[in-house]
């Protein structure tokens, strides 16, 4: 008797919401959709349009001049350099960490998993400050670094370190659940068939995670290009030297060079849009292959 009652109850609870949803009057459905779309337009599409409108507000020639200005070019170069180092570094760390966490048993594993999330949990400003405290002139290694004439804070290495720190979780976070769901049987199979650890990684593990990895790289790249807070603390805002694109935008804006600021900002926005397109392509490919 009891199981029979349970089934009746569960079918009832499953069915009733579906009934109600289809019985909603047309005006309610339209109104809800309209509210959602209006919200999207106001908070997402409009700002994006404003960025491009402002960028070209003084004409195409001004836009080109603002983008080609030496300080702007230097900031673009620095951003690309930072990304070129931070992203590959995080790919290596992320894959190594995910591989260790998903495929092996060891003590301290949950601590490591928590630590990977740390950069997400702390404010980027604090992430920057940590590096100032460690490597700055008054920091732990400050005197030693000054003695050996190594500059980290208010220089390019500091920017790269801070960016790497802030963007660390993206690759690892993307891979850990994927690798955990795939389990270790395929790796064990490879091992019993005589493959070495290296062969197992390159021939079995890596091909299985390639789309997830690419997805993580794209997200990591997007964040690395746009990082402001942590980089702002360690950069020192030296024009043409330690300004990344987001910092350059801020400086121009503070100088009331609105069109110039938005010109550089539009480049960043374009990069972000390209990233989103790439991400959707990967997602589409991922579901297609699965």
């Amino acid at each position: 008797m009891a199981p029979a009652i349970a089934t009746t109850l569960s079918t009832r609870t499953v069915r009733s919401p579906a009934h109600r949803a289809t019985r909603d009057p047309a005006w309610a459905r339209w109104a809800l959709t309209a509210i959602a779309l209006a919200f999207l337009a106001f908070f997402l599409v409009l700002p994006l349009l404003v960025v491009f409108a402002q960028a070209f507000s003084k004409g195409g020639a001004y836009f080109l001049a603002a983008v080609r200005e030496p300080d702007a070019l230097a900031s673009i170069r620095l951003t690309l350099l930072t990304v070129a180092i931070a992203v590959p570094a995080n790919v290596i760390f992320g894959v190594a960490a995910a591989w260790a966490i998903a495929k092996f048993r060891f003590s301290g594993k949950s601590l490591l998993t928590t630590l990977i999330d740390l950069p997400f949990a702390v404010s980027p400003v604090i992430s920057g400050l940590i590096y100032v405290l460690v490597f700055g002139a008054q920091g732990w290694f400050g005197p030693w670094l000054i003695e050996h004439n190594i500059r980290i804070i208010f220089a390019v290495p500091g920017i790269i370190l801070a960016t790497t720190f802030v963007t660390f979780p993206f690759v690892a976070r993307e891979l850990i659940p994927l690798m955990q769901s795939q389990g270790t049987d395929e790796e064990y199979s490879a091992v019993t068939l005589g493959a070495s650890g290296w062969q197992t990684f390159w021939r079995v593990t890596l091909p299985n995670i390639r789309w997830g990895l690419l997805y993580g790289v794209i997200l990591c790249n997007a964040r690395a290009m746009g990082e402001f807070g942590a980089v702002s603390v360690v950069s020192g805002h030296i024009r043409g030297e330690t300004n990344t694109m987001p910092l350059h935008v801020e400086i121009l804006y503070n100088e009331y060079n609105i069109a110039g600021a938005f010109a550089v900002a539009s480049l960043l926005a374009l990069l972000a849009l390209a990233t989103l397109v790439l991400k959707s392509l990967v997602e589409w490919r991922q579901t297609g292959s699965a």
Partner: protein, 352 residues
């Protein structure tokens, strides 16, 4: 190649998976490791394969008399087939089978042509030659299983280890495939151990059955030995349906009802298989336990009856043929007599 394991102990944290297990598999035999889940059978198989290692200082694994306890899995020459096949999902069937040859060091690696030849020969052996270009996701469960087998055989293993080889298949395919495995084993004569929790499967195809329970080996023997002479109540209950009856209920007239007087420890519990009980009409007189028919289940090759003993009110399951049931012309609440053809009892202090 023969396989031996001596005094294997394995703990995962506070959980004991194997507690001093011995195993001896003679050359060329097909042996089943049979037990409920959590009995340690898969852990034992993985230790033999080299995918897990016994706790330090606890025991040894020997292949053909040679100690391989510290030899890594890749060097043991074992073919291992996983329960869920573990095929490389991004490789074609052909590449899956060729994998073990492709990862060899250059000087041991066969040429591409001979790798291809060997892979195709193996796929033929498992009757899948037409599917070489498919991907694992395009195959049925039974086909995947056979690809996994071909892949394991590609490295010319000395022993074959199968972890629940038919566990993930539906009942029909499972039956076909296990007969196929028996014939296949007779053909290639490779020492094979397979893990299963299905007693029917183990009893049907294995030369020898190793029954495991709670990190221990309960009994080793041929299917007939373990079925006819179970060494413990656990084995008795695990290898098929059984009625557990209190011995005092067999006192008096019941004692004459088939229980041999030389049965050890008659005050303990009596184990009787449902098909070892004979039913006779009550009014025909004679000996046996009086019982009342409570339920008749006649759908199937055999009729199953649930009867209640008059004396003790214990319920007993009885299995008789359909024609016997027709002859007896029984209905629910009829009075019958039970005769126990064959019973077992064990020492009282044995804990299941």
């Amino acid at each position: 190649m023969s396989i031996e394991a001596h005094g294997i102990r394995k703990k995962f944290g506070a959980y004991t998976a194997l507690d001093g297990v011995d195993l001896n598999v003679p050359q060329g035999k097909l042996v089943a490791l049979l037990g409920p889940s959590g009995s340690g059978k898969t852990t034992l198989l993985r230790i033999i394969a080299g995918l897990e290692f016994p706790d330090p200082g606890s025991g040894r694994v020997l292949f053909h008399g040679e100690d391989v306890t510290d030899v890594p899995a890749g060097k043991r020459r074992v073919g291992f087939v996983f329960q869920h096949y573990a095929l490389f999902r991004h490789m074609s069937v052909f590449e899956n089978v060729a994998f073990g040859l492709r990862v060899r060091r250059r000087r041991d690696r066969p040429s591409n042509a001979s790798i291809a030849e060997r892979a195709h020969r193996l796929l033929e052996l498992v009757q899948l030659d037409g599917l070489a270009g498919r991907f694992p996701s395009q195959l049925s469960g039974g086909e995947r299983q056979r690809v996994a087998l071909a892949r394991a055989l590609a490295v010319e293993p000395k022993v074959l280890l199968l972890d629940e080889p038919f566990g993930a298949l539906d009942a029909r395919v499972r039956k076909d495939l296990r007969r196929w495995l028996r014939r296949f084993h007779d053909e290639i004569q490779l020492t094979t151990i397979f893990v299963t929790h299905d007693q029917e499967e183990a009893l049907e195809i294995a030369d020898e059955v190793v029954i495991m329970n709670k990190a221990h080996v309960e009994q080793v023997g041929t299917p007939q030995q373990v079925y006819d002479k179970p060494a413990s109540p656990f084995v008795y209950q695990f290898l098929g349906n059984v009625n557990v009856m209190r011995a005092p209920s067999l006192a008096g007239s019941a004692r004459r009802g088939g229980l041999r007087p030389d049965e050890p420890n008659p005050d303990g519990q009596i184990y009787v298989r449902p098909h070892d009980i004979e039913l006779t009409p009550h009014d025909a007189g004679g000996t046996g336990l009086s019982a009342i028919v409570r339920h008749i289940h006649a759908a199937g090759p055999q009729a199953r009856l649930l009867v209640e003993q008059v004396q003790t009110r214990e319920h007993v399951e009885v299995e008789i043929s359909r024609s016997e049931l027709t002859d007896l012309n029984l209905r629910v609440n009829d009075l019958v007599r039970l005769r126990l053809r064959q019973t077992h009892s064990f020492d009282e202090d044995y804990a299941i």
